[in-house]
Symmetry: C2
Subunit: 154 residues, 2 copies
DNA sequence: TATTTAGTTTATAACTTTATAAACTAAATG
DNA sequence: CATTTAGTTTATAAAGTTATAAACTAAATA
């Protein structure tokens, strides 16, 4: 594959990653910025390079970059005697996706427990279904702890 | 707890579950309908009961109910000689949350593989981080299969 | 001290989503 | 066959989101 082809594919992948983060609740421009910083060979972009590369206004860039920084998705470094900000992806916890699952799983478990707790008939169709889901989620919760330890040791 | 208190708490929980599904990308009314069908003692509601209980217009109810049905979140039954539709929660696969994690995990793994594949320098900071994430996700993928078998047997 | 550079802030335009009212349809009842 | 019931469809109002232009600020250079 020629370098040009490769770079074109990288740019396509930036859009694809943008759409992924879009679905995760980020704004479109935020997704594309994350994509850019993830995919391209240059892993550190200045403010101006980002606006040029993604064809977005300075104000969009400014607002979205600030937002991504607050969310701890990206960070910037500055160099003494240089007014530019150099943006790059923040080193994420590699277990992020697992942790996210665990948080959601915990939240859903608690909701379902509350639902059952408030049912007049604890043997209703839904109460039984929810008890089943809670049982599964608690089983996974226990075992995921073990799995993580196993992974870290290996 | 008095029955009245309990019912008030159920109604509050309907709203809370509504917000949860909102965050999952459902429209607010859709979330509240799911909440209603999950939480209340009556686990089967007619169209009119839903519009009255949630104070929503007939057209909102009609559109959202149709949408939830297409998404296979709810279903309705009809009774011969009765024009009403009786809506209820669809019996979900109890492993839904696990499956959802698996789907997302697979998608992210493939994206990251594509990212690394297109990098000029496979040892760049990001390439290394992503390789690490892929390794973790593949480890979990393998082990989650085993976990499910273990759960089903028990 | 005037000008340029690097971004930030604010007001608003453009678009998308959500919810409704009102008109409509189709089946059942009087 | 006229009316009521149960919901659907359509047009639109209301609200929320996203992106921009233009005015602004603060630091660095000329």
């Amino acid at each position: 594959m020629s370098t040009e082809d490769r770079i074109q594919k990288q740019k396509d992948l930036v859009e694809k990653i943008g759409r992924h983060f879009d679905r995760e609740g980020f704004q479109p421009i935020a997704g594309r910025i994350i994509g850019l910083l993830m995919v391209m060979d240059k892993e550190q972009y200045t403010f101006d390079e980002i606006t040029e590369e993604l064809h977005i206004s300075k104000s969009s860039a400014s607002n979205v970059l600030r937002n991504l920084e607050i969310r701890e998705m990206i960070e910037y470094i500055t160099i003494p005697g240089d007014r530019k900000k150099y943006y790059r992806l923040r080193q994420q916890n590699a277990f992020e996706l697992i942790d996210e699952f665990e948080r959601k799983s915990k939240f859903v478990t608690e909701l379902l427990q509350e639902v059952i707790c408030l049912k007049a008939d604890k043997n209703s169709t839904n109460a039984q279904l929810f008890a089943n889901v809670i049982d599964i989620l608690e089983f996974y919760h226990e075992n995921l702890k073990v799995l993580r330890e196993k992974y870290i040791k290996s």
